[in-house]
């Protein structure tokens, strides 16, 4: 990797200040995407600001009808959290399927969603469960957070503090992993929430997206059969050696039906 200056601030303000002062600063949360990127010399930030010792970014807690997960909470903590497992088992199971155990021991929810990898799992949870993202400046609705390929609604230097997931009536996440990287080729979160049915798809497009036709069909009849004939357009879906757009479109249907079946119990 290229040389950079490493910072380990003790407060959110100091982190923001370090970022602001840097020529090209990058935040490091768990580092599980950033460090591989740096090792491959695909990025050359002047400064890396590690949030590890910033207080207030940890912890999983119940707040009313929501589960609030601190930005620096690791995937393994979410997967093991009794609070999460009781309230939103789909979220625990999603976290338990990210990367591998060592990635889950370091990688964080904040790092994952800020990176906005089109094949990451968490975006499906943020959008599919209708979450809101709290930053050091504001609150962003989950539906508005992901704006494109590796793009989010965050402003320059804005730091995610926590993610709040409303507890759904029922939900499930099913993914079809890339056989090599084990990222999602297609991952679908289906949730029956207070604000309606949500179907969010990660891995298939530039960014996580919802499938309105499925949501409508499921609102009337929450069963796999209800969406059996809902076709997903392959236009604008990703293509790579592991999956064509056509195959991805097909998998969206299969994963969605399996998620519905799992959520319906």
């Amino acid at each position: 990797m290229y040389a950079f200056n490493y910072h380990r601030p003790d407060t959110l303000e100091a982190a923001a200040a370090a970022l602001a002062a840097a020529e090209d600063g990058r935040v490091m949360a768990g580092g599980q995407t950033l460090i591989p990127t740096l090792k491959q010399r695909l990025a050359s930030p002047s400064d890396v600001v590690d949030l590890a010792t910033v207080p207030g970014l940890g912890g999983v807690r119940r707040e009313g009808d929501a589960i609030v997960v601190g930005a620096m909470v690791r995937h393994a903590e979410v997967a093991a959290s009794a609070e999460v497992r009781a309230a939103i088992p789909a979220l625990a199971s999603l976290a338990d399927g990210i990367g591998d155990p060592q990635v889950r021991n370091c990688g964080t929810i904040g790092g994952s969603i800020v990176n906005a990898d089109p094949a990451a799992d968490y975006p499906a949870a943020v959008v599919g469960l209708g979450a809101t993202v709290r930053t050091d400046r504001r609150t962003i609705v989950g539906d508005d957070f992901f704006t494109g390929l590796f793009e989010t609604a965050l402003d320059e230097g804005e730091i995610v503090v926590s993610v709040s997931f409303p507890v759904p009536r029922r939900a499930a996440y099913v993914k079809f992993p890339n056989p090599a990287s084990r990222y999602a080729v297609v991952g679908v979160m289906v949730a029956d929430t207070a604000s309606g049915i949500r179907v969010a798809v990660t891995g298939a497009g530039d960014s996580v997206f919802r499938v309105g036709a499925m949501e409508t069909a499921l609102a009337g009849n929450f069963s796999a059969d209800a969406i059996r004939n809902v076709a997903v357009s392959q236009d604008a879906l990703n293509e790579d050696i592991h999956a064509s757009a056509e195959y991805r479109a097909h998998l969206v249907g299969v994963m969605a039906r399996r998620a519905v079946a799992a959520a319906a119990g």
Partner: protein
């Protein structure tokens, strides 16, 4: 059976250091005043290049930046191919120059152009990026079809039409005649997918030069340190053999990829001489992907002619084999003598004809990878047999049984130059079917169908030629070396033993197996035996480890050395016990005077040999140390049947292997635990080829599967527990009766998986790797 002798599953001696993190792999060593190398590699598949190294040379910590021009100026020789294959036209294959650093033309992505030597690895890497390369792109040919097309861009002036050779084996006329008599002809077009070896330890090398003596030392990841020394001395000519010391310390897997003499170790050794300091290079995995020789990569049309009873009359094979951009060290023999000669399989096929075009493309060179030619042969035979079974409505097991070479027909001369020495194919098949509950398959399929799953069962009755190889045979076929092996036994005065072998262990467990052999044979306690390998200054010249040869050839060499030890010991005992040599019997480590209770243990004999105070020196030499060289009379022929059962999810195309049975005939077995482990690993490699691993280039010659992010390695959850058994027909021509086990799994597995999948899918129109997408497409065509 002795506790640690032949036939015992002795835990491995080498494991303690590996388990405690105290092994010594190449990258674990550092030498005083060491420098670090990074390579500047081509990002184009085909281009002429001009390099400006001035900025790199001026960068902090840089010691030297050396290019292909510097290399040519020092008259460093080309890398070589050590086996000259002669084509149909009687001409030798085309082996264009392959410089360790390309001077003006690059021919594949990753082709090395310059070596940057610096005070740290980071400084070397930083500076390598400062070498300015001016590329003038040339048209690249990536596929074999394009390379052979009329008017295709030429990769080497020396190889018109990008053809390395057009080779044949077998009897064309007899095969045509057999097809004329056929009741049915089965046909298939098959791709044997290109694989990237990916031993877990990346390649590494540390070159060192001593200006006081003119001695060079190369410590590297090698399966055959003596071959590295020979090639670098005799052909590349960096130093004469006696001035070059090659050490292959602990090596983290090879699978063939660490046989070859590559650009990097050559450049590192030469650079060490230039700068007079040690130079170390360790590959990043990304470099391994483009710079380690790849494997397989065949396209084949195969036809099998059968009579009305399903007997195999003729086999016709037409193959294109990809050599990549240059001819790697043993590349030429893989799709010819290690491939065409295996097309008899386990069957009595009456006539066989095979032709192979070896083709240059602008891709990474291709060479031997676990199995090397034999997996490709087995794959096409076992696929076409299943296709024929399907076409003719005959059970695949029954069709095989009808065509097996009978157990009483050995030695069996094949139609493709080999003579099989021993085997019992029906026995292995029957046992495999029993273990796989072949007869219960229909019920299991029904259960799967009830769950909406497809189920299939596939067989692979493979054969391989191992114990490579009789020097006379390979010499007559163009090999530049003999393929014997050496073994040495040195008794120390205190009675313990050093065992020297020219073979090399990089996971196979020689330190244990060879010690078991010596312990059993000489009656020396296992713990008093140390196996020494991997160092050209410690061991006698030897050919190294590949082709499942170490025990069959290297172990046999040790037997020859031990026979000499016993003969010498008998003389010493006869003298010491005042008996005649003829009356001395050796057993269990004791030399005994027949019919008496007078005896001497071999440790006492050794002590006496080094303290010869009263020896009759004109009759008896002091010392107890002997070396044996063993050149096999024939190849060995491990064979067996593997059965794979799969369940396919038709909605996603995902294949799950639900059961695996391997029944292999390896002849005699020294350490069953190690043999089973070799089978497990081979099967995983073959399953990887069949389901997961597919090297892909884009149309410009960029490697699309250039990291573990895109190239799928088998993981623990891709595989089931494996049921492994052996049968035994001892090899009749080596003293141990052993055949070799290292490659069997990789040879057998791909066909077993694919036959199971085609059985599940009801279509043979699918190639490896049978990824979920490929299976889904096959189901939805």
């Amino acid at each position: 059976m002795a506790e640690n002798g032949i036939g015992a599953s002795v835990p491995r001696t080498e494991d303690h250091r590996f388990l405690t993190g105290t092994g010594s792999y190449t990258d674990d060593s550092n030498l005083p005043h060491q420098t670090y190398a990074a390579f500047v590699r081509s990002t184009h598949a085909h281009a002429t290049v001009a390099l400006d190294t001035s900025a790199a040379a001026a960068a902090p910590g840089v010691v030297a930046v050396l290019t292909g021009t510097d290399l040519a100026g020092d008259q460093v020789g080309s890398l070589i191919c050590g086996w000259v294959v002669t084509g149909k036209d009687g001409e030798p294959h085309k082996a264009p120059p392959h410089p360790a650093l390309a001077a003006d033309t690059v021919r594949h992505v990753g082709d090395a152009m310059a070596i940057v030597v610096a005070e740290s690895a980071r400084a070397a890497r930083d500076a390598a990026e400062l070498v300015k390369v001016d590329y003038t792109p040339l048209p690249a040919v990536v596929s074999m079809r394009d390379a052979l097309a009329e008017g295709a861009p030429q990769i080497h002036a020396e190889a018109p039409g990008n053809l390395c050779y057009d080779w044949e084996i077998g009897d064309r006329a007899a095969t045509d005649e057999a097809f004329g008599r056929a009741r049915h002809v089965a046909r298939l077009d098959l791709v044997n997918n290109r694989l990237i070896p990916n031993a877990m330890e990346p390649r590494a090398a540390i070159g060192d030069y001593n200006p006081a003596t003119g001695d060079y030392t190369l410590r590297l990841t090698s399966q055959n340190p003596h071959i590295h020394r020979l090639v670098l001395a005799a052909f590349v000519q960096i130093a004469p053999e006696h001035k070059l010391h090659v050490i292959a310390p602990d090596v983290g897997g090879g699978f063939g990829s660490k046989i070859f003499i590559y650009q990097e170790e050559t450049a590192v050794l030469w650079a060490a001489g230039k700068i007079g300091r040690p130079v170390k290079w360790t590959a990043d995995r990304s470099e391994s992907f483009v710079a380690d020789a790849h494997g397989r990569d065949h396209e084949t049309h195969v036809e099998l002619a059968l009579d009305e009873g399903g007997r195999f009359l003729g086999l016709r094979v037409e193959t294109r084999a990809n050599m990549g951009a240059y001819l790697s060290t043993f590349a030429s023999c893989v799709p010819s003598y290690l491939y065409g000669t295996l097309l008899q399989g386990q069957y009595t096929t009456e006539a066989i004809y095979c032709e192979v075009k070896a083709v240059f493309t602008n891709t990474t060179p291709v060479d031997a990878l676990r199995g090397a030619g034999r997996p490709e042969a087995t794959y096409l035979i076992e696929r076409i047999v299943d296709q024929a079974a399907h076409d003719m409505g005959i059970d695949p097991a029954e069709l095989r049984r009808r065509n097996f070479i009978p157990a009483d027909a050995f030695p069996y001369p094949t139609k493709v130059a080999l003579e099989y020495d021993s085997g019992n194919y029906g026995l292995a098949l029957d046992r495999a079917l029993e273990l796989a509950d072949y007869n219960g398959f229909a019920a299991r399929r029904a259960e799967s169908e009830a769950k909406g799953r497809l189920r299939g069962i596939g067989l692979s009755a493979y054969i391989e030629a191992c114990g490579i190889a009789p020097s006379q045979v390979v010499g007559s076929l163009g090999a530049g070396v003999g393929l014997w092996e050496s073994g040495g036994i040195r008794f120390n005065p205190t009675g313990n033993v050093l065992v020297y072998t020219g073979s090399h262990s990089h996971g196979q467990g020689h330190e244990t197996t060879f010690a078991q052999l010596v312990s059993d044979y000489l009656g020396v306690p296992f713990e008093n035996i140390e196996v020494v390998h991997g160092d050209t200054e410690k061991t006698p010249f030897g050919m190294g480890t590949y082709g499942s040869r170490s025990l069959a050839v290297g172990g046999s060499a040790l037997v020859k050395a031990m026979d000499k030890i016993i003969a010498k010991g008998r003389k010493i005992a006869a003298f010491s016990l005042e008996a005649s040599e003829e009356d001395i019997e050796f057993s269990g480590g004791d030399f005994k005077v027949a019919g008496t209770d007078r005896s001497m243990n071999i440790a006492e004999v050794a002590f006496s040999a080094y303290v010869p105070h009263n020896y009759p020196l004109d009759e008896l030499e002091p010392g107890l140390e002997e070396t044996g060289f063993y050149d096999p009379a024939n190849f060995t022929f491990p064979a067996g049947t593997h059965v794979c059962e799969v369940e396919v999810d038709p909605e996603t195309g995902t294949t799950e292997i639900v059961h695996w049975v391997a029944v292999d005939d390896f002849g005699n077995v020294i350490n069953p635990m190690i043999v089973e482990g070799q089978v497990h690993g081979g099967v995983a490699h073959g399953v990887g080829q069949a389901l997961l691993e597919g090297c892909a280039y884009d149309a410009d010659g960029q490697l699309v599967t250039g990291s573990f992010m895109d190239y799928t390695m088998p993981r623990a959850d891709d595989l089931p527990d494996l049921t492994v058994e052996t049968t035994c027909t001892p090899c009749p021509h080596n003293p141990l009766g052993v055949k070799g086990c290292g490659e069997a799994g990789a040879i057998a597995a791909p066909a077993a998986v694919m036959n199971a999948i085609t059985h599940a899918l009801g279509t043979g129109a699918i190639d490896m790797p049978a990824t979920p997408q490929a299976v889904w497409r096959a189901l939805n065509q």
